[in-house]
């Protein structure tokens, strides 16, 4: 077994681009879920808005790549309004149903043959990130050269995306932290506790919930953009339900209603995930058998990994419902 390779890849997972885009999406989800108590199960849909906003500039609109940023944000605002207007007046669980369905509808629409002209069907959209990488090159980062030391060695292409990505994590994390310390954030937290009490004190709860949904959605959109820029492509199946639930798992791991939790949670999530994935892959290089009974073979590594992620979440809920950084008194899953 090649332990050094396993550790090298795991450490890269800790700070790699996956952790970046998960962290941004988790900060957004935290605004909605951790602070306001809105059950958004469609964060992947918001991410798709950002990715397709960028992709469609080259593929369909044939305008400058940079227009993709406002375009993606516009898409996510529209999505937020579309989901929020009918459901935010209702009980929290309705939003969960609508968001999970809306995200799936988006995925199915963009991968459909009927709309291939706009969204590129199941192949998605490729080769649009060049203008972004050229900016990196202008800063003197060679796309193909290797940078770094020890296990932390990345190509210039990865490094540039990571620099931009982590800067965005820091900026967005700071802004959300400021907002949650302000009276605005206080109203959101109060809504999480009891809507009617907040209403009786003269706050327009519906408007605040909408603002929270839109803010979290726009942050999710930025996450989708970083993801698309890293891959240099947009593929519809990268925005399926499981992405939302992984992000939720990562958020809960770090601790909800804490900005630090929503950044460190995804990092740890990817550390553990990459470690398990590589470890299992090496273990199951030859099928593991007891007698004639095959326990696991290399093709099942993915599934076993998913099972372990699920187990982690269960154990977390049982033994540390507030996550690693969460404050048990303020926010823990108490099964209300």
């Amino acid at each position: 077994m090649d332990w050094s390779l396993i550790f090298e890849l795991s450490l890269k997972g800790l700070i790699g681009i996956n952790a970046v885009y998960f962290a941004i999406a988790a900060i957004g989800l935290n605004v909605q879920f951790g602070y306001t108590g809105l059950l958004n199960f469609g964060q992947a849909g918001f991410m798709a808005c950002g990715a397709y906003g960028l992709g469609m500039t080259a593929h369909y609109f044939e305008i400058s790549f940079w227009w993709g940023i406002p375009l993606g944000i516009l898409f996510s605002l529209l999505l937020g309004l579309l989901m929020g207007i009918p459901t935010l007046r209702l009980r929290a669980d309705y939003l969960a149903i609508v968001t999970i369905a809306a995200a799936e509808i988006i995925r199915l629409v963009v991968r459909s043959v009927r709309f291939k002209h706009y969204f590129g069907g199941s192949d998605g959209i490729n080769r649009f990130a060049q203008p972004f990488r050229e900016v990196g090159a202008d800063f003197g980062i060679d796309q193909t050269q290797l940078y770094g030391f020890g296990p932390f060695t990345f190509t210039g292409r990865e490094l540039w995306t990571m620099i931009v990505g982590w800067s965005l994590v820091a900026l967005i994390g700071y802004l959300v932290y400021k907002l949650m310390k302000s009276p605005w954030g206080r109203v959101l937290k109060a809504i999480r506790e009891d809507e009617d009490a907040v209403r009786s004190l003269g706050k327009n709860v519906y408007s605040y919930k909408m603002q929270s949904l839109l803010l979290g959605g726009v942050i999710g959109t930025i996450s989708g953009m970083i993801f698309a820029l890293d891959r240099g492509s947009v593929q519809p199946d990268n925005y399926s339900r499981d992405v939302t639930f992984y992000i939720l798992t990562a958020l809960v791991l770090g601790g909800v209603a804490k900005v630090s939790g929503s950044i460190i949670g995804p990092m740890l999530f990817w550390l553990i995930f990459t470690f398990l994935d590589n470890f299992l892959r090496q273990v199951a290089d030859k099928p593991i058998k007891i007698g004639n009974f095959t326990i696991m073979q290399s093709t099942q590594v993915g599934q076993v990994n998913f099972m372990l992620v699920g187990l982690t979440l269960i154990l977390l809920m049982v033994y540390r419902p507030q996550g690693i950084f969460g404050n048990r008194q303020e926010m823990a899953f108490d099964g209300r």
């Binding site: 302000s182 605005w184 937290k189 009891d194 004190l201 706050k203 926010m331």
Partner: protein, 291 residues
Amino acid sequence: MDAETTMSPAARMAREALATCAASPGVAKPDPILVADSVRRKFGGITAVDVDHLEVQRGSITALIGPNGAGKTTLFNLLTGFDSVDEGRWSFDGRSMGRAAPHRMAKLGMVRTFQLTKSLTKLSVIENMRLGATEQIGEKWWNGLIDARWRKQEAAITERAEELLERFKLSHMRDEYAGALSGGQRKLLEMARALMTNPILVMLDEPMAGVNPALKQSLNEHIRGLRDEGMTVLFVEHDMDMVHDISDWVVVMAEGRVIAEGTPDAISSNPAVIDAYLGAHQGRSLLEDQP
């Protein structure tokens, strides 16, 4: 419990104004702050509220009593915008209300508390209080990002919140989570938080439910204090001692209707009220009705 021995000027004014009113349901008051006209609300086949006319005198403490299921809380919900009427209209402080959202009612100066106390348990006591202040600059997200815009107002709000906490004897719990308070303290917190909105009409839904006798005394004092500061108080209560003790006027509801109104003394001897509470056959053996 001892009755109000020395009346404050505000109390005397309220009592004198109401002394001129006849003790009949739907009687007009000299200076009403709240007027309801043919307000009706049905739940399925049951008419929960069916009030032809009701006025609440400004600057008074008015009690709303009645047996369980009389529609008191439903009427509260209708007047504060938490529920919408099937028909009817009402006016508050001269402003005609049809369907108003709850937050708008609160901004106009009508604030309510709830039968089941709604303290925001995972916020600290002082944060609960700060939340109550209206027209906060920092509650707009674009202002929230810039400390300088709201720090000054926040300091003023905090100062006012601390004064109120002092008055309600909650200062020592300032930085605790509201979830750490006892049931009675939560009632006090809810009332103090409601006052942060600078209301002109305070609607209390069963302020005494689950409160121990010692605390009841101080709650009584607090409610009288509200009137003495010029606020109008309308409250729902089952504790008849308290109703008799502090209210200037009593409105009795039964089966959704206002069946009687009057001063506390007049109400306690009103046969219709005794009927509603105890049933028409009170005082007689059940066996007498049998053939």
